[in-house]
Symmetry: C2
């Protein structure tokens, strides 16, 4: 006996169902049609050819054995169920042939409708419907579709003219009408003949009159469409494996366009935008499904169908079915229906797409109010990234759509900092501050940002850069500040002198309004109204109380649930006290990365810093460092107090020194005056610090090794601050992190300084403070020699930004020129700066964890690269047994949720439930 | 019974010998003293305290059990042998106490002479010698040394005044004399007393009169001196492990300063400069060893001792002993002797230091003429790097020394390209060409070089840069061209406008003469005469025939021997036909790296290249590429013909495109005119190609993926050239190498292009050519995923320059600022760009070899980074089973030798000879 390839459904019985295994085999559509049939819901009878046949077809270039026989048997079952005959001149059975993959790929593959019509069967259809116009309209549609899809006459590009369209237009001209619907039956019949002639002419073969031949042609075409260009691109963009294949669903045609007692429409069991549990739908009387989608006629809201007497109790049935399916699948359903001459048919049901808001609300209500799903299920129902919609300001969606329609979309960059911002354009950090002082909201536009711009970034509500990737300075710092951020918008041409930028022919000047969508990367001209995040209002701004915001309640419930499950601790990257406040608001369990250098850009600090860098000997350098010491100390005291006993990981100086120095001559002259040094000397020194590849240059612990006095000052500030805070009775846990270590000796030399200073400080205060010394793992050599490095390091923190740059040999600042091509051409599955490259960088991390813990079993290991807030990476970090992930404050909730999901997913793998879809449980007991 | 810590030697019997194990235990000096004793050579009796005691002493802070007893026993044996008594007022035994590590650390550790003297024993010495002046001179020297070394009164820095010195000077003033030797016995006696008072005052303790106390004090001081600053620094610089420890040699004092029948001197069994087998030595009558070294009196050549009747047959004995030791050790010996009142004593023998010339000649003669060592031994006796002395022009050594004495040494940079060059300074590539045309020899001085300078570099005989490391562009390209090259000379300040550079107060202008020593990195003002390499004359210039040059014969014999043993193939990096000619002259077995981009800098080629880069669409780019095609093809034909059937590995375009574009405005304007493009457009485009980290930027296969048409053109040139050559009946083996692959998909996409073009080309010519497609492994991700990459790659070539940069996160161009500090502070044992970092980068290589061959067992693997010519790296490459190393042509002989040594060393480890020192065999049969 050959394998089962064909799965029948109809009249309350189905071979398939909606278990995961069956979904993989039958595709989503086929599995759900079978499931609905089981539930006693009226579904036009049909059958599904499995995805395995597709895979077989692509591998072997032929159909598997026994397929033909099974198809014929299933076809006869349909004929029996419908009491019609395929190709019958009296009462013909018409079929639809549709694709249906494991996950929905809307519109990507081909469909053939009204199959089974020929010159004889069309007569049968006329007899059945008593409507020759309808019959010929169906026939001409079928021939067109068949010609396009099966016989390959569809033009390859949109510029070419569809030959069928050409004939149709000529016919309309001939009849002097504007719409297809105005053509009489005879005209449509003439069209059928013309179309057939065209087919004969183009293909050299007559149009196949034999329905079975038509059927096999359509099946082949649908399987073939799995590999068309559109489908391939879509799969690429959505990470759908090529070898999944599609199923083919062959189903009895039902018609919503058989007069006023017929209709077609869509229905949602809950509101897709808000998540509210209220049916929502639209329909058109006397129409086909495509008409609803096409938007030629405006559909009506479903409630209007209620009192339509022509359709009997179809409306009530529909409501009952929608509720039944929502309850059965325990999730919002997106359904398609057709009413044919007063009889309701369900054509499709699937889990509906929804906004982030809706996703959280639906899962929350299903779990809390309706008691239909467990909190574990609720946690797995939501996408952590969608939390951004609850945490960030968002645009009024109608206004935004309007703006796009008005062609105000200027360009698209990389979506580096989510949220929505509307503000006036400025081009310098100084201008940002000036505008801000006047109470204006500004968007800072730069080629790229540098540490010098920090204060201006802080003053802006959004940042737009022309260069750089998603972990460029602008992205990194902007995200950490919670700014809306679009980077690498390569099409904009900034002219700093004229204070304007040009993009695709538009000129935007300083002071003009633009809007940034940091979630999509869109840059839009003009103002778009934004709404703030209620969660942020409650958690940080405290303008609302928790009780006043339902959104906050949903958010906090999810966070509570997530915290119950997750193993990973979630820490925050926070450089300044105000960032630590946000971290605490989002319940960070420590600070995993405090970049001390960001403290050096305020007021007189930068002067002292510059003095230090330009010092010509150790004495002068120490003098400048002494000025910095109290400032750093004060910052650390602030951080410690806010974190109140949680770990605070402080990284010693990391960036190349030239980042702190002015690059234009005027500023250099100012500096020369300030420091009473000859300009030439300063200029030469700054010039000598210029580097070919600063990323791989004189930075990280290399600075602290050349100038031990810098590390010394920083360690002193860290530990003295700790003593001060401890003295006040507040618990404090400093962790000193040495950056860019590649060789154990580097860490050893820096550790020696820490030990010496610690001894001095503790003697001075008369008591000790517990502290740790650890290192970033951010160059491959550190990972490779992790066993050695763990001899000294008490903790590791993966700096995955730099580790990705070095492991892949890709500069994040320069990747803009080729990385998009790489992702587009599918060379890399994802931007490795957003989602960790698990095969490459991840391998080094696994190695480092294993080797590090082989030396020091209690080694604490975390990640503080930007990947720490990426859900997939969080899951990976859980899998390789890290202790914590550290991310920018606004990503903490995302990481908390992702960490919980990681545990739950692991649980599923270890003891998989018999069916992952909740639908199944009911289906099986039904 | 406690372990043996003390090894006696004297009167023909010794506990130790000169096996390797014994050398490790007794140090070189002690082992050789024992060995000489065995050979019946007169050695003053003594004993050695082993290095294990030193190690024990440092770990446990005390001496091992039983040491004291063993020392006393050995002391009594000396007393018996010499018939003297330690501290005896009649016939006192005096001792020397010296350090002696496993390898010589000349002058780094402490020595105490004349030990055993006190107020009583000095009277005995007077009785013995009948010379009270001699006795008190010995005594005052002993007290000084003891005070300095044992009691720690030696001043810490050279600026401080030695308190003993101060007293001595006062005494000389008091006696109105100039030299120590003019002081009478009474003055010396007074000095002894003064010195003792000083000791009492400074240390609070009286000078120890008890000889045994003196002895233990001296032993402790010598062990202690293992860890003094000088010794630590010396070990650092010479890679001597800290835990080896030193032995202490206690030996009967003999005196060369007991009158006219006494003498002291040094002796070499062969000439250390030329290797000639002819005794060479110097001596002083009535002097101590230190006098010979100090250079106050000018020593005489040893032949003058021949007819000195006062010393009897000492001269003849000395000659015999020298021959005996040379024969016994089967190597040139460096010996010290003392004649005390007509009796000859040998104080030391060791294998002598020698020049590269001498090393090769001695090993050659020992093996070929004297038949004393095997060719395996001969191969292991030489340092491959010393081959440079045979292959490169060298300075006349006297002239160079004179220049240094005249303070003409300007500065020191990194020794990037060995050899000696004298020429006139120029500052631009264009000037280099102009001077060259006029027949001048020039040295090109630049901040750093870029591909634009290639022609100027070719025209120069030496290159000097202010920036960059040993694998910077200048170093890499200079070395490959065989130029003398000093890079990273950070002290020079170039002023291109004034056409001069300033260094340490000297101004050198265009046209001035300077000399570069590329072997040491020295930059010297003025002309120094150079001698060309005879080997190069024979092999490349062919101005000499092989028979005319003994040096060439030695060279070629070593090469023949090396080729018999080595497993690794030695390939060459050669970009242009003239480099391939050199490669063939040095017998390269293939080309492992042809950088195609270096072909683009000649004449109109660069224009076509620039046109290609600036093209705005594929059509224009293809047009420009078509101009380049015939040029590349012609180059490849040239290479193939020269290599005549050997593999030629051609890398597709690698460097960032901006390297090909002009950076100053004038040149950009020229280019705009040439290409009839608006200047603004060109300027903007060049600006847009600017990168933050070009090393990690838009280069390597990233170019070929964005612009497949570039790869296409290059592959076409490679394969069409191959067909042309094959058509002429010449064998040809092209290997196409894709650079900077990090992900298998990159290689796949490039391979697809190769396959398509190959099909077209082979169809066009009507026949196929065997070719391979492979990749560089030069980013960590490639190594980590080598199993995947080997699915497509038919060969791997480790690009260890880039792999080192990415694995360590160090840019070779920027490393100059911190790498020297790292090497100096011993953070890294060696410059990782010169000698491969085996622990870090090497681990990735091992991994890649293992994983790559797990997928494709016959995967061919080589290395084409600069490390390919470094002997230690060659040994590593042999150990991890690479198939070949590829290096610049002038390094081929070095690599051949190193590859043979790798095999021989491995053989030694697998079946170690009972003694590695040849000395032993004889010693044991003696």
């Amino acid at each position: 006996m050959s394998k089962k390839h064909v799965f029948y459904f109809g009249s309350g019985n189905a071979d398939g169902n909606a278990t995961t295994a069956m979904k993989n085999l039958l595709g989503g559509k086929g599995a759900n049609l079978a499931e609905m049939t089981h539930l006693g819901i009226p579904v036009p009878p049909g059958f599904t050819i499995s995805t395995e046949v597709c895979t077989h077809y692509y591998l072997q270039k032929e159909y598997p054995q026994g397929l033909e026989k099974q198809v014929m048997e299933a076809l006869h079952k349909i004929e029996a169920a419908m009491n019609k005959k395929f190709g019958d001149p009296e009462n013909p059975l018409l079929l639809s042939v549709r694709s249906g993959a494991r996950v929905s790929m809307p519109g990507m593959m081909d469909t053939v409708l009204n199959l089974g019509l020929n010159d004889k069967a069309v007569q049968g259809l006329i007899k059945q419907t008593n409507d020759s116009r309808f019959a010929f309209d169906s026939y001409r549609r079928f021939v067109t579709m068949y010609g396009d899809v099966v016989l390959g006459l569809k033009p390859e590009s949109e510029e070419e003219i569809d030959p069928f369209e050409e004939i149709l237009e000529a016919k309309k001209r001939a009849y002097g009408v504007k719409y297809d619907t105005e053509l009489p039956a005879e005209a449509l019949q003439e069209l059928v003949n013309k179309f057939k002639e065209l087919i004969k002419e183009k293909t050299g073969e007559p149009f196949p009159e034999e329905p079975i031949e038509q059927l096999w042609g359509a099946i082949g075409a649908v399987f073939g469409s799995w590999d068309n260009e559109r489908a391939k691109v879509y799969r690429k963009l959505n990470y759908i494996p090529d070898d999944w294949g599609t199923a083919v669903n062959i189903q009895t045609m039902v018609f919503g366009n058989m007069g006023e007692a017929s209709a077609t429409g869509v229905l949602f069991s809950r509101n897709a935008a808000t998540g509210e549990k209220k049916l929502y739908g639209e329909y058109l009387i006397n129409a086909q499904g495509e008409d609803v989608v096409a938007g030629v006629r405006t559909p009506k809201e479903i409630e209007n169908l209620k009192n339509n007497e022509l359709i009997g109790h179809c409306y009530e049935d529909l409501m009952k079915i929608a509720d039944k399916l929502d309850l059965h699948y325990r999730d919002m359903q997106d359904m398609e229906f057709t009413i044919q001459k007063g009889k309701l048919w369900m054509l499709q049901t699937r889990t509906g797409k929804r906004t982030g808001f809706a996703a959280f609300r639906i899962a929350y209500e299903l779990a809390i109010k309706e008691n239909l799903i467990t909190k574990e299920e609720a946690l797995l129902r939501v996408d952590p990234n969608q939390l951004n919609q609850l945490l960030r300001p968002i645009f009024n969606i109608e206004e935004k759509n309007k703006a796009v329609q008005e062609k105000r979309l200027l360009t698209k960059g990389l979506n580096a900092g989510p949220g929505a911002a509307t503000g006036r354009v400025v081009f310098t950090a100084a201008d940002a501050e000036k505008y801000k002082e006047k109470g204006e909201e500004v968007i800072l536009v730069r080629h790229e940002t540098s540490p010098e711009d920090i204060k201006g970034m802080e003053a802006s509500i959004g940042i737009l850069t022309a260069r750089g990737g998603t972990t460029s300075h602008a992205a990194l710092v902007g995200r950490q500040m919670g700014k809306v951020c679009v980077v690498g918008a390569g099409e904009i041409r900034i002219d700093y002198k004229k204070r304007q930028f040009e993009v695709n022919g538009n000129i935007i000047k300083e002071g003009d309004w633009i809007s940034l969508d940091g979630t999509t990367g869109e840059v839009i001209e003009g103002v778009i109204e934004t709404s703030p995040s209620e969660v942020v209002d409650v958690a940080i701004n405290k303008t609302l109380s928790p009780e006043e915001s339902e959104t906050y309640q949903i958010y906090s419930t999810f966070m509570k649930w997530a915290d119950e499950y997750r193993h990973l601790e979630i820490w925050a990257n926070a450089d300044l006290p105000n960032q630590a406040v946000n971290a605490v608001a989002f319940e960070a369990e420590g600070i995993g990365l405090c970049r001390t250098e960001h403290m050096f850009f305020n007021g007189s600090r930068i002067d002292a810093m510059r003095e230090m860098i330009l010092a010509e000997n150790t004495t002068d350098r120490r003098k400048a460092l002494e000025k910095l010491l109290p400032m750093q100390k004060a910052d650390f005291i602030g951080l410690y107090k806010i974190m109140n006993g949680l770990s605070v990981t402080i990284r010693t100086l990391d960036p190349p020194l030239h980042e702190f120095l002015p690059h234009d001559e005027a500023e250099q002259k100012d500096l020369a005056e300030k420091l009473s040094m000859p300009f030439e000397k300063i200029h030469t020194r700054i010039d000598s610090l210029r580097e070919s590849n600063p990323m791989l240059g004189y930075r990280g612990c290399r600075l602290g090794i050349s100038y031990p006095e810098i590390t010394e000052m920083q360690v002193r500030a860290i530990l003295e601050a700790a003593c001060e805070v401890k003295k006040e009775g507040i618990e404090v846990k400093p962790e000193i992190m040495i950056p860019l270590v590649g060789h154990i000796n580097e860490l050893k030399m820096q550790e020696e300084i820490v030990l010496t200073v610690a001894k001095e400080v503790f003697e001075k205060y008369g008591f000790d403070v517990d502290y740790k010394v650890g290192t970033m793992i951010e160059v491959p050599r550190a990972a490779i020699t992790a066993d050695k490095i763990a001899e000294v390091a008490e903790f590791f923190s993966f700096g995955t930004n730099d580790l990705t740059q070095t492991t892949l040999g890709i500069s994040r600042d320069d990747a803009g020129q080729f990385l998009p091509i790489y992702v587009e051409k599918k060379i890399l599955p994802e931007d490795p700066f957003q989602t960790l490259d698990q095969t490459g960088v991840g391998k080094l991390m696994e190695w480092a964890v294993e080797k590090g813990r082989s030396t020091r079993p209690d080694l604490k290991i975390g990640i503080c690269g930007e990947h720490g807030g990426d859900p997939k990476t969080v899951e990976f970090c859980h899998r390789i047994n890290l202790d914590y992930v550290s991310c920018s404050p606004f990503r903490i909730p995302i990481a908390r949720l992702a960490a919980a999901q990681a545990v739950l997913k692991e649980k599923q793998i270890q003891s998989p439930p018999s069916h992952t879809s909740s639908a199944v449980t009911v289906a099986q007991t039904a």
